[in-house]
Structure formats: structure tokens, C-alpha cells
Subunit: 773 residues, 2 copies
């Protein structure tokens, strides 16, 4: 035990706060997770940050509370009513731009995938037919596998070597960003470029992935870029939207961008708004919601418009979104009361399968973190998966004898004759060979007898494991479409079996309907969103009749799935040890108060502080604090110092950079006047303290913080209960919360990690350890 | 001017706060509204509360922040994890019950209206045909008018004499409740009964009203009743859900009830959730959202199920909601890019007409407040409106010659031959005679040539004025359906004219489509909701294809309408002088700080206070404070008292009622132990101080408030800017916010009215006057 305690006191250096880490005692030393204890005993520090029982201190927080210092207030007071109106209009303009650009990106991805996949399809089909005739079946398999691996390799290389943050769907990262955690490089232009190219490669490379998830990330990056009116990567500053250069405004725009992404991906503007609100916004503001809605609308509109041109149906706007589930005609597939229990059962199956998926992916991710962390290994794994995917598909197609007649009413754009008689096509090949979007649509809408049960069962099984293996690879790819595809396959199977059991051919056992419900169940079981997902599904099907069953199914899937394991995104967030704040404090945490939760003692600064002290404080790498309470000492009195403000590391850095010193020695008492603009220009990439040179003379100068500190930081008394602290912190999106005694003296500081540390485990309240890496 | 200033200082007695009203100076004395000045000069106090430039002090606030006193914390700490799970489950059960009961009520209203309207239709039709034959046209008119007036009279009498709060749609009242204002009697059982009977009478009486708005109110009442596990009116306490007997929990359930109401009314569960969030919830909590969603789902499901039994289609759940817009088949009525400008133009027309409607209704309401405030006058006005409605309809039908052939494909359930040749029916009569819901549906879906343009134009015109006159009568009735009907009529007219201008018969000029867009535009122009209304419309049409145009139209209507006048509900809220808090502080209010905003000096209580002092403080009718900061004085020191807690009037009342005194004289230092249960039993109808008898002996006792006060109230320093105070107050749903100096001494108290007072007028920031009534 001594070993662990020591480790904790090493690891609990406060990152966000100005508190010198003393290491708060563990709540339940005996309830430490077994493998974390083993790790620390065996001394394998490399694996510690990936333990889900740890919180990493490397993540900084975003400040969603305005820093109301004198400069800010003066600017706001100077601004006229018309000024605010102009700001409001420019917010709308920015949202419109975000929507437009996000729509364009979605359009580009869609067209690129379409063209490249069509080209690949032609090449493969010709070759397979050619080689099959001459008997060299293995040659066509090798050709296919190599082609896919090569394409995936390109995607994996740019992700693994150039921008690892662009891997995966990006939804966990955006969730964290909207929650208030600064994930490094997540909203940079480079990330966007890599993401877009990567997702095209993954989809064309035939991996079991979708292109929808990455759209959300892309939208967020677009928003973060456009709203700042400059690109730090390109070193261009357009000198516009300077007012928006702070976390509060940027977050709002990123919400809009994420919503625009969902909207473009699924043609679901309302679903997009709900997604942003469900994941991000802690405080529902009507104007903000409308702007988000506007961005979503413009996004789906743009995508629609350009795609309609591409498809030579200019001006026809009724097929929204990258994925289009096709139209369900409500008359033919109405549902009835006695189907509700069936739907609920399917929800439960979806929850179970989703939990299985998540558990498998969790183990896989742990394995990857331990053994596949070198970029070249990651690229090789991605290529392996591509090759295996191709081989498995090929084998399945070869051994499948599900040949369907190629009637005049067939809806496949690319029917594959492979190994079938003339006038027929191979339905297994259709399911495997098409882009996943098209496969989902054909599972929803094809004639009831299109796929035979064996095909569906085998397809479900193989695709399940392939998708599970694929998620978490170093490629840009989403998990929405594979989930839908798995669900649609087993849902259709369910419908077929149901029709076989009951009187065959009854209307209510339409397999397409069950495919839809199965898709919802599977997706719900994996990602566990409820409200927004319902709306997304309803908007994507274009029919609200299924609203109620989809809701029921998603709720059941969530309840069942939550019993076993968390949602996929939450698992990945936990594995990154991100200090993610949930909606409420754990229910049983009322016996904790701010006194126990806070970090203390706190490094405070005086209102007029020596430059040397400030530099030393900032340079102290062992603490690396980001916020400092400012106190005032009554001259000549013994009374302890009282809180008078709060200042951030970033502000101090800017002050030091601009040498805003009061040189007492030369009796020049006027400071250099600093504008809010100087802070905005430095946002968001403030230089490190090491890059700022302060001479020995300057170290003796004083710095007056009065003008720059937030003079009215939020405070709580020491006796405040944790849920109350949590509510204040979460509702206002704070970064630092000062704990004061009844004389208004600083006794501690509460930051994100202090609150995120407590969570409800199997055995009641647990406390996570803090780790520096 | 002296007169006004005096008046202000009289009227600014702080209601919520413990501040003795000193009357904060007016911001812009010269910008007082003209008629308010005239009023005060002429001394007409009766009209003052109905001036929209006043804030009434008679409204109390709800406390959405938990009162974390020792009793509460002890209970929470005692509760196990399982206890919290059980609570969570009972929350779900309550939401299920709310949904179920709301659905049942909607079902009852629907069936009652259907049956009674059918009956009335038979009687009227037979008589008209009979009397028309014998030539006595005026007799049938009189019969019709008298019948309608009689039915409306019943509805008006129960509303005007028994429960005036049940008048109108109830949406403004629910908005206020969710915003945090306690509207007296708004969620009582009696209100529900009167509302339900009243709305049946109004609809059957042929007024230009809908039954959908009142469903929202009904759902809210159901929620407030069910969640408390007792009925104070019926004097039944089921001893369940006692934990939920406080404002925080009750508000959450009322949100769910309102959502369930929307869901039942329009078959729009997602729209319901969004409505609740848009109007009420300041803090978006995921679990809460899901519960609200669940209630909505159950509600529409229940309604569907019972209506399907009633319509002999048991188990067919695909026609949700009281109003069903019918299914728009997307193939036939797709829209095209070049129609977008037309839609936007229709949105602008809707905004203009909506603003006109609101202005007319505003003047009418002012008139009613001044001259029609006696119940018997209100009943007479309602009867007059009913008679005029009947007469106008009759006249219109008589002079209309829009006879349509009664083909085999006609969709009217009740075609009226009135004044038409055999084999034809009168389409004007169809529009006027049916229930408004059915008229809306026929305007959306009937064959393009069903109504001729003159019929539509005249119908729009008359119905517009009738609906405007009707809203605000002392009857229970909604404005949703009349707005939709007006919009559908002019929208269809628009479509007809468009078809006439362009090549007749082109697909895109389908009048049904334009009727839908017109309906959305008109409704949006009147009520000005955007996101929730879009979703409601989309869910009610059962087709997401129109999502984008509906959004565009609603946004345009809102922007255009807001330029002239506020939304209808906001106008009525303002006319009631309710201290309604908007989403954000006025943009130009940064120069105001807590010091200017707060009420001061504050009546504080000591932690151990004399009973006599408490009774006197509470009995002081000139202040009527509801919250008191508790301070502690260091014994024998000269230092000023420091804040140590906050206690509410209601808590003190319970303490006094239970005689929780420390009798120092008899050295019985133990107080009677009071449980949280005692407070819950008294909630929410705490007795007035006058009903509690305290003897002279008891007045000399002391009372220890330590256990009962909220020991950690939120505080802000005096220099905090108004937007910051506002954000804290609004995000956390506070009732009292203590302003302290840097020694933690109480200097003021901020309450709802202090913040609601500032609003953005035409000439910048304005300050409203406070009035006692």
C-alpha cells in the first residue's frame, strides 16, 4: 500500500490549478483496480496513462466563462447597441459560412469516394472475370487484397505519421472539446486535411468503415477555423472576427460546426442540433440554438444542391445527406401494436451485441496501446486489416451460393455476377462489394426474398468482427455505418425468420422494416445516444412513422448495454484518461465538500507582484499551474491576504512578452498600455514561458495585475457540498473555482480534474488517480 | 417628474428579497412611456399592473436551486446508492404516469369533441335543411347562433367564475412557470378540470379555436399533481414520491408534462421535448431530457392506442396526435430550388400577418383589461363572439357560390349541400362548419380545384379577425389551430394564384404544399418559436422532406415579425407584468454592476434569533420578503456580521408552526427535532404568517436557524457586472443571490425582479418600474 500512496502523491500534481499538489488521500485504497496496482508494483510507467482508472493531467481545460477583467469590461461598455447588433449579424454570417464549407467538404468526400470506388469496382470486376476464366482464382484474390491494402496504406501513413489525432471518427475528441477539455491539435487545418484524405482512402480501400463520423470532426475544424478569421497554420490573419478569439465564442461555433457535420452526414439538421446539445452545450441558449440550427440547415442544403448537380438532377433537393436510407413508404410497412414487444426484444439484442462489440474493442484498444504504438506498426496493422477484409469477403462470396435472378426491377447499381449463372447476381457479393451505405440501403429496401438467411447470418458475423477490429485503427473512419450495416443484416434476418415462423408473407413481417429497427438497435447499443440518434434516424429515413419504435429500441438498447459496459465513445475517452465532466456529480457524493475536493495550498500572486516571482512561478515545471488567484495584502497589517481576482497563465505570458512592467527603481510608474487585441492575437497558441526572455534587471520590476485579472471570480465556501460545486462548475463552464473561508481568504482551488476524479463505480464512489502523462 | 420618482419609491418594495426597498433611481427618467406617466399623473392605480412597462411584485419565484441545509445533506448522506437508484426509477415511473394520464386526457377531449360536434352537426344540418325548405332562413341562423352561444356560455362561465387562470391556451402561464415564476393556482387540479371542460365547450361551440394549446397546460397540471403523490385539493396524500416535494424536482416533472402535452396534441414527441427545453430548462441535463422524452413517447402512444380503439382500428398506431395533418406523399409534392425564394416570401407574409394579429390582439387585450374585467361581462363577450362567429359563417356560406361536385373520391366526412345543387357540396360551408382540424387537413390535401380563390380569400379575412378577437376571451382555447387554418387558407390561395400565373397544372404549384408552408408561416409569425415548431410541424406532417422549407419559413417569419412586435405569448406575459427572465442579460448592460442592481439594505437574521424578531419581520406587510440572509456576529466584537447562510420565509413559517424554540429561560436548550418531512408536508401551500399564533412568552424564546438555513448560498462581490450576475442567476435557477463585500459581509440581495427590470428598449437599456399589484 505504501507504494501506491507514494505513487499517488507523485502523480497528483495539480495541472489546472495554482495548488501545489499535496496529494489528497485516496478514498478507498482497498478498491484500487487490480491491474493498476500490478502495474505500479512492476513499475511500468509507460502504460499508466492508458489505464481507465487514471486521469491525465496533460489535458488543459477550456474557459467557457468570460474573463471579465477591466479591459474586457471597458470594451463592452464602449460598444454601442449597434455594435452588438453587428456582432450578432457576424455570428450568423460565420454560422452560414461554417454550414456552407462543411457541406462542400461532405460533397467533396462523397464525390471522391463515389468516383474512386466506381473506378476500383471496374478494375476489380474486369480482372476477376478475366482471371476466373483462366482459372487463376488466387490471382484475383491477391489483386483485390493488394489494391485495397495499398489504398488503405496511403490513408494510414498520412494519419500515423502526420496527424495521429485524425484517426478514428473524431467524435470522442469533439465530445471532449465541447465538454471543455482542450485536446491538442484537434481543430487545426492540418487535421482537417488529413482527416478528409484519410477517410476517402479508408472507404475506397474497402474497410468496414463509414464516412459519416469524420464529417462531425470536419465540421468542428471548419468552425474553429472560420470563426477565428485567420489560420495560424497558413500564417494568414484576415483581421476579421477578432471578437470571437476566445474559448467561449469558439466553443459556440464548434458546436455549430459539429451540428453542421451531422446534418451533412445524415441529412438531419434537427438531429445535428440535438447532437451538439446532447454532447456539448451545458447551458441552453435560444439564440445559440438557432444559429446552430441555421448552420445545420445551410450545410445540408449546400450538400444537397451540389450533389444534385453532380447527379444531373440540378435543383432537386429532396435527397439530403451523405447517407440516405431511402424512402420508407408508410402504407406498406406500417407497424402494429403487437410488434412493439418484438421491437423491444430487438433493442435488447442490439444492446447485447453492442456491449459485446464495445468489450471486444476495449480489449483490442488496450492491446494496441501496449503493443502497436509505433506509426509503422500502425500502418502495417491497417494494411493487414484491409487484406483480411478483402480475403474474407472473397471467401464468403466464393462459398456463397445465394444467387438471385437479375430481374428488370433490381435496384442494385452494381450487380455482381460472380460465380453465378448468367442472368443472376451474387447477393453476398452485393452486400460485401458495395460501399457500406449502398448495402444498408439495399438491406432496407430490397424485395423480401433478396437475401437468404444464411447469407445474412454469415454477413452479420463476419462484418461484426471486421468492424470491431477496424475501429481504432490508425485510419480516419466512422463506426456509424458499419454498426447500421451489422444491425440491418441481423434485423433483416430476424424479419425473415419471423416471416418463416408465422404465416409467410404477412405484411407486418416485412424484412426491410426489421432491418431498420435492427440497424437502430445495433447503433444504439454501440454508441448509446438516445434523443439525437432517434431524430437522426427519423430524419434519415424521411418518415416519422417509425419515430416511436426507434425510440423504444434505442432506449432498450441503451439500458441493456449500459448494464454491461459504457458506450464506445466513452470507453475511448476513458482510455485516454481525459478529465471528462458528466452531467451531474455522482449521486452518493453529498458527504464530500469543497474542502476535501479542492487542491491546496494555492500559489497566489499579489496584485502588484515582482516580475521575478511571476517568472519563477510560471517556470516551475513540477506544478505547471494555469490559473492563479490574485490576493491583496493590507499594507502594514497582519491580516491574511484577501482574494481580489484571478489571472491565467496565458494572460501572464502575454504580459511578460509585452514587458508590461512598472519600473519602480526609475520611478516610471506608468505601465505600457496593453489592449485586449494583444491577448486576442496571441490566442490560442500562447508561447511557453521558456521562450520569453526576462533579464535580471527586469526581474526586479513590478507588475500591476489589476487591469488584467478577472476581478470577480466565482467563489464557494469550504463547506459547499460536492454536488453543489459540481453544478456551479458545470453549468457555467468554469475552469477555476476559488474556495474561500468566511473572511474571503483563499484556501483552495477547484479545477476540472478535482471534480472528474470522483466517479461512481461498482462499489460506490471511487476516486481516480492522477497521472502527469 | 417628482411625482413619478415618488411613485417609484413607493412601488419598488422588494418582494422576493429581504431588502427594505429604497427605490433604485430610474435609469432614464425621461424615457418613461407616455401613457404610464399619464396614468400615474391621473392616479389610476387600477390600470398600473397591466402596463407592460411595469413589473409586478405579486409574483413569487420558484427555487430551482436545492436548499442545501443540514437536514437535506444528512438525508442525502444517509441514502445509499440503491436509494438513489430507486429514486431514479421512481422518476421514470412518474414520467410514465404523466405521459399516460396526459394521453388519456387528450383522448377524452378528442372523443368528447368528436361526439358532441357530430351531434351538433346533425341537429344543425337537419334544422337548416328543414327551415330552408319552409323559407325561414333567419330561423336557422338564429338556431345556430343560439346553440353555439349556449355551449360557449357554459365554457365561459366555468372559466370566468370558477378558475380564471384556465382561460386561454395556458402556454404563457407554463412558460412563466418553467422560467421560474410562481403563477398562483396554475397547476391545480381544479384548473385542469375547468380547462378540459372549457376547451370542449369552446371547440364544440364553433369558436375559432383549437384544442391543442390547452393540452400543454393540462400535461403540466397532471405532472405537478402526479409527481407530488398527493392532491391538496382532494385532501388525499398517498405518502409516495415525498422526495419530489420541492421546486427543483417539480419543475423537472412539469417540463415533462408540458412535453407530453405537446406530444399528445401534435403527435410530436421530439417537438415536445424541444418545446420544454426551449421554454423552460435553463440547464440541459441528459437524464432529464430522456425522461421528458419518455413521457412524450408514452403520451402519444397512449393517445394513439385509445384513439385506434375508438376508431375501430385497434392497434394501428400510425396516426399520432390530436391534430393530424395527413400524410404528404413526397413524390407528388417535392419542392425545387427555385421555390425557395417563394417560400421565403411566404415566410415574410406570415411574419407581417402575424405581427398584425399580435398588434390587434394587444390592443384588444388592453381594452379587455380596462373595460371587460368583470366575470359576467367576460361571459357575455364570449357569447357575443360565438354568435358573431356563427352569423359570419352563415352569411359567408349563404353568399358563397363555391359549389363543388360531390365526387366519389371526396374526402370530407361531413359534406354540406347547403344552398348548392344536388350532387354538389358547399366548400365554404366545409371550411367553416368542420372542426378547424379537419378544415386544415382538407386545405392541405384536397384536390387542387376544391376551393376557389374567392372562397379562400374571404375565409382568410374573416377567420383572421375572428381568431384575433377570440384569443384572450375568458374561455379555454388555443391559438395554434386557428393560426394554421388562416395560414393554410392564404397559402392555398397563394398556390392557386401561382398556378394561375404560371403554366397551369405544373407540379410545383400544388396548392396543398403552399397551404402547408402558409400554415407554418402564419403560426411562426404569431407565436415565434423556431426550432421546436419546425420539429412539431415536421412530425405532424409525417414527412421530413419539408423540414428545410419549414425552417426557412419559420425563421423568416420570426425575423420579420420581431421587427414589429413580440410573439403573442410574450405580449401576454408582458401585459401581466410578470418578471420573466430572458436567456441573457441585455447586451449593453455591462456598465451595471451588482451594486447598482441589488436591493439594499437587507433585512438579515442572526443565526440564533429571537422569535419575536422573526415574527415581526415576517409580519411586515410593507416589505413581504421571502428570503433572509443569516449572519453571525462574533460575540463581544465590533466587527460587522458575516454571512453564514440563507433562510426562506417558508422555512421560518414551518419552524414557527412547529414551535421549534429554544427556551432560554427554562434552560431547556434542546430544540424540538424537526424532520425534512415536516417541510415537505407543508409544501407548496405554506400558511401565511397571520395564521400562526405566537404567544408573548414564546416571542421571548430564541430560535436556532443553523440546521435549517442553506449554509452555502451563492454569493457575488459588489463589482460583478450585470451579465455575470444574470448568467449565474439564470443558469442555476436561483431565487436569491447574496451580494457581499470583500469581508464576506452582506451588502445586498439580488432577486428575479432586480434582473428582469432591465430590458433593451428602442432607445437602449430601459428600466421597468415595480408595482405592488
Amino acid at each position: 500500500m505504501a507504494n501506491i500512496t507514494k505513487k499517488v502523491s507523485w502523480s497528483s500534481r495539480a495541472d489546472e490549478s495554482g495548488a501545489t499538489g499535496e496529494g489528497t488521500p485516496l478514498l478507498n485504497g482497498s478498491e484500487q483496480p487490480r491491474h493498476s496496482r500490478q502495474d505500479s508494483l512492476r513499475g511500468r510507467p509507460k502504460e499508466i496513462p492508458h489505464n481507465e482508472k487514471l486521469l491525465s493531467l496533460k489535458f488543459e481545460s477550456l474557459d467557457y466563462d468570460n474573463i471579465e477583467n477591466q479591459l474586457f469590461l471597458e470594451e463592452e461598455r464602449r460598444m454601442s447597441y449597434m455594435g452588438f447588433r453587428c456582432l450578432e449579424i457576424s455570428r450568423w454570417v460565420v454560422c452560414g459560412l461554417i454550414g456552407f464549407l462543411t457541406g462542400l467538404i461532405a460533397c467533396f468526400i462523397d464525390i471522391a469516394v463515389e468516383e474512386l470506388a466506381g473506378f476500383k469496382y471496374q478494375v476489380v470486376k474486369e480482372n476477376i472475370e478475366k482471371f476466373t476464366e483462366v482459372g487463376g482464382l488466387s490471382i484475383s484474390l491477391i489483386l483485390w487484397a493488394v489494391l485495397n491494402s495499398a489504398i488503405v496504406m496511403i490513408g494510414a501513413i498520412i494519419v500515423a505519421f502526420f496527424e495521429p489525432i485524425a484517426a478514428g471518427s473524431g467524435i470522442p475528441q469533439i465530445k471532449c472539446y465541447l465538454n471543455g477539455v482542450k485536446i491538442p491539435r484537434v481543430v487545426r487545418l492540418k487535421t482537417l486535411v488529413v482527416k478528409v484524405c484519410g477517410v476517402i482512402c479508408s472507404v475506397v480501400g474497402g474497410l468496414a468503415v463509414g464516412k459519416e463520423g469524420p464529417m462531425i470532426h470536419s465540421g468542428a475544424v471548419v468552425a474553429a477555423g472560420v470563426s477565428q478569421g485567420r489560420s495560424t497554420s497558413l500564417k494568414r490573419d484576415f483581421k476579421i472576427f477578432e471578437y470571437f478569439r476566445r474559448d467561449t465564442e469558439k466553443r459556440d461555433f464548434v458546436s455549430a460546426g459539429a451540428a453542421a457535420g451531422v446534418s451533412a452526414a445524415f441529412g438531419a439538421p434537427v438531429g445535428g442540433v440535438l447532437f451538439s446539445l446532447e454532447e456539448g452545450a451545458s447551458f441552453w441558449n435560444q439564440m445559440l440554438t438557432w444559429r446552430i440550427f441555421f448552420a445545420s440547415m445551410i450545410s445540408t442544403f449546400t450538400l444537397n444542391f451540389f450533389l444534385s448537380i453532380y447527379h444531373n438532377k440540378t435543383g432537386d433537393l429532396s435527397s439530403p445527406g451523405l447517407i440516405n436510407f431511402g424512402r420508407f413508404e408508410s402504407d406498406s410497412v406500417a407497424y402494429n401494436l403487437y410488434e412493439i414487444p418484438l421491437f423491444i426484444a430487438m433493442g435488447a439484442i442490439g444492446g447485447l451485441l453492442g456491449a459485446l462489440f464495445n468489450v471486444l474493442n476495449y480489449w483490442l484498444t488496450i492491446f494496441r496501446i501496449r503493443y502497436v504504438h509505433r506509426p509503422c506498426l500502425q500502418v502495417m496493422e491497417a494494411m493487414l486489416v484491409a487484406a483480411v477484409t478483402a480475403t474474407v469477403s472473397f471467401t464468403m462470396i466464393y462459398f456463397s451460393n445465394d444467387c438471385q435472378p437479375l430481374g428488370p426491377e433490381h435496384t442494385e447499381e452494381y450487380p455482381l455476377q460472380l460465380f453465378c449463372a448468367d442472368g443472376e447476381y451474387n447477393s453476398m457479393a452485393t452486400a460485401f462489394f458495395n460501399t457500406p451505405e449502398r448495402s444498408v440501403r439495399s438491406l432496407f429496401h430490397n424485395q423480401p426474398d433478396t437475401y437468404n438467411p444464411l447469407t445474412l447470418g454469415l454477413f452479420t458475423l463476419t462484418y461484426f468482427f471486421l468492424a470491431c477490429w477496424t475501429y481504432g485503427l490508425a485510419v480516419s473512419a466512422g463506426v456509424f455505418i458499419p454498426s447500421l450495416l451489422i444491425g440491418a443484416a441481423w434485423g433483416r434476418l430476424f424479419g425473415r425468420l419471423l416471416a418463416a415462423i408465422t404465416s409467410s408473407g404477412s405484411i407486418w413481417a416485412d424484412p426491410g422494416k426489421y432491418a431498420l429497427i435492427g440497424a437502430a438497435a445495433q447503433l444504439g447499443g454501440i454508441v448509446r445516444m438516445t434523443l439525437s440518434l432517434t431524430v437522426i434516424m427519423v430524419e434519415a429515413t424521411g418518415n416519422v412513422t417509425y419515430g416511436l419504435p426507434i425510440m423504444l429500441v434505442l432506449m432498450t438498447a441503451k439500458i441493456v448495454g449500459d448494464y454491461f459496459v459504457e458506450g464506445l465513445y466513452d470507453i475511448h475517452i476513458k482510455l485516454q484518461s481525459v478529465p471528462f465532466l458528466h452531467w451531474e456529480a455522482p449521486a452518493t457524493s453529498h458527504w464530500l465538500t469543497a474542502r476535501e475536493v479542492m487542491s491546496s495550498p494555492v500559489t497566489c500572486l499579489n496584485r502588484i507582484e515582482k516580475v521575478g516571482t511571476i517568472v519563477d512561478t510560471l517556470s516551475n515545471t513540477s506544478t505547471n499551474h494555469n490559473g492563479f488567484p490574485v490576493v491583496v495584502q493590507v499594507t502594514g497589517s497582519d491580516e491574511p491576504a484577501k482574494l481580489c481576482g484571478l489571472i491565467l497563465r496565458s494572460q501572464l505570458i502575454v504580459l511578460l512578452k509585452h514587458k508590461v512592467f512598472v519600473e519602480l527603481a526609475r520611478s516610471r510608474l506608468t505601465q505600457r498600455k496593453l489592449q485586449l487585441k494583444d491577448f486576442r492575437d496571441a490566442y490560442p497558441r500562447f508561447p511557453p514561458i521558456q521562450s520569453i526572455h526576462v533579464s535580471q534587471d527586469e526581474r526586479e520590476c513590478m507588475m500591476d495585475l489589476t487591469e488584467f485579472m478577472n476581478a470577480t471570480p466565482y467563489t464557494v465556501p469550504q463547506e459547499t457540498s460536492l454536488p453543489r460545486v459540481f453544478k456551479l462548475f458545470r453549468a457555467l463552464g468554469l475552469r477555476h473555482l476559488v474556495v474561500v473561508d468566511d473572511e474571503n481568504r483563499v484556501v483552495g482551488l477547484v479545477t476540472r480534474k478535482d471534480l472528474a476524479r470522483y466517479h461512481l463505480g461498482k462499489h460506490g464512489l471511487e476516486e481516480l488517480q492522477l497521472a502527469q502523462t
